[in-house]
């Protein structure tokens, strides 16, 4: 049951306050349709008597109760801003390719907390910081293996768009034949050159992109049935195919 004696954090309080102000704004906007002279709240300052507490990780607050003295006074000044200012000062909404760090398996609470304090809450945020060559280990002064973290995040991101193969077939020629593969989300990592192994021998990849690849294969390597192809698309994605050759 909700209680007035339970500590709350600033984020929950502001979430609640903003939802309440939004509701009021919507009601007043509807009222303005019928009643020409209606007023909207332009800005608001809330001064509250609170007791802050710190548990070593987060600052929380308890609202002062009747008879309690020595409470801290904390003021929240809320002003209305334009949509243009919102665009300038906030991150864009998460895209469908993005993932929240909280849902990535293997990332511990402490790491999530230290990243959140730097405004890094999604894989996209993390990648932006990596692209700018910022050493997160030095910035946070935390013993976190960011290389391992980076790999975990990339792995999680890659698993959200797995490779799929629509068609695979041999194109036989006199000298060298080629194996053509078509599909989706194949070679998506531009920094990694895929590696192919055909019937246990390394095969040369002639061309690869996210929709397909062409692999050069010697005619003598192709068996009539049960040809095996293993392709490493990137450090986190391997696929294996069994192919028959209808000569």
């Amino acid at each position: 049951m909700p209680s007035s004696n339970r500590a709350w954090n600033l984020e929950s309080f502001l979430d609640s306050l903003i939802v309440e102000l939004d509701k009021a704004r919507e009601t007043l906007a509807v009222k303005a349709i019928n009643k020409p002279l209606t007023y909207a709240v332009k800005d608001m300052k809330l001064e509250m008597q609170l007791f802050p507490s710190f548990d070593g990780k987060k600052v929380k607050f308890i609202t002062a109760q009747p008879g309690q003295t020595g409470a801290s006074k904390i003021a929240f000044q809320l002003g209305s801003i334009t949509d243009q200012q919102i665009r300038k000062t906030t991150k864009g909404p998460s895209t469908k390719d993005d993932l929240s760090i909280e849902v990535v398996e293997g990332v511990d609470e402490e790491t999530i907390d230290s990243l959140r304090k730097m405004g890094v809450t999604s894989i996209q945020d993390f990648e932006q910081i990596e692209h700018k060559n910022i050493d997160l280990g030095k910035v946070t002064k935390k013993k976190v293996n960011y290389k391992k973290l980076s790999n975990l995040l990339q792995k999680a991101k890659r698993s959200s768009y797995p490779p799929s193969i629509r068609r695979a077939g041999f194109s036989l020629a006199k000298d060298n034949s080629v194996l053509e593969i078509e599909g989706e989300n194949l070679a998506v990592d531009q920094t990694f050159k895929p590696v192919a192994v055909f019937n246990g021998a390394l095969a040369e990849i002639d061309f690869s992109d996210k929709k397909g690849m062409t692999i050069k294969i010697g005619n003598d390597q192709i068996k009539k049935n049960d040809n095996e192809l293993i392709v490493t698309l990137d450090p986190f994605t391997i696929f294996k195919l069994k192919l028959n050759n209808p000569k």
Binding site: M1, P2, S3, S4, R6, A7, W8, N9, S12, F13, D15, S16, L17, V19, E20, L21, D22, K23, A24, T27, L28, A29, A32, L37, T38, Y39, A40, V41, K42, D43, M44, K45, L46, E47, M48, Q49, T63, A64, Q65, P66, G67, Q68, A71
Partner: protein, 90 residues
């Protein structure tokens, strides 16, 4: 509003309190007089009693009201304060 059912019944959900604060009759004069004046902007401040509840998941529910009683008692309620500016919706 279900989330506000545990708010002190003498108080309002915070959104309704804001709606009430913004509900002002702000015209002076009359058509007969030939002059009608309207308030363009209004700044106000008042002491505020808050009922701030936190559930098991840390979610906050906000209720509030202007001071309910002015009689001095052994334990006075805690008075927070709210200052706001209202502007006419054009």
């Amino acid at each position: 509003m279900k989330e506000h059912e545990n708010i002190d019944e003498a108080m309002l959900p915070f959104s309704e309190l804001v709606e009430e604060l913004a509900s002002i009759e702000a015209q002076a004069g009359s058509k007969q007089m030939g002059v009608i004046m309207e308030i363009e902007r209004l700044k106000a401040g008042l002491p505020l009693q808050l009922d701030l509840l936190t559930d098991e998941n840390g979610r906050v529910v906000l209720g509030g009201s202007p001071p309910l009683y002015y009689v001095e008692t052994t334990f006075l309620p805690v008075f927070h304060s709210i200052t706001y500016t209202l502007e006419k919706i054009e």
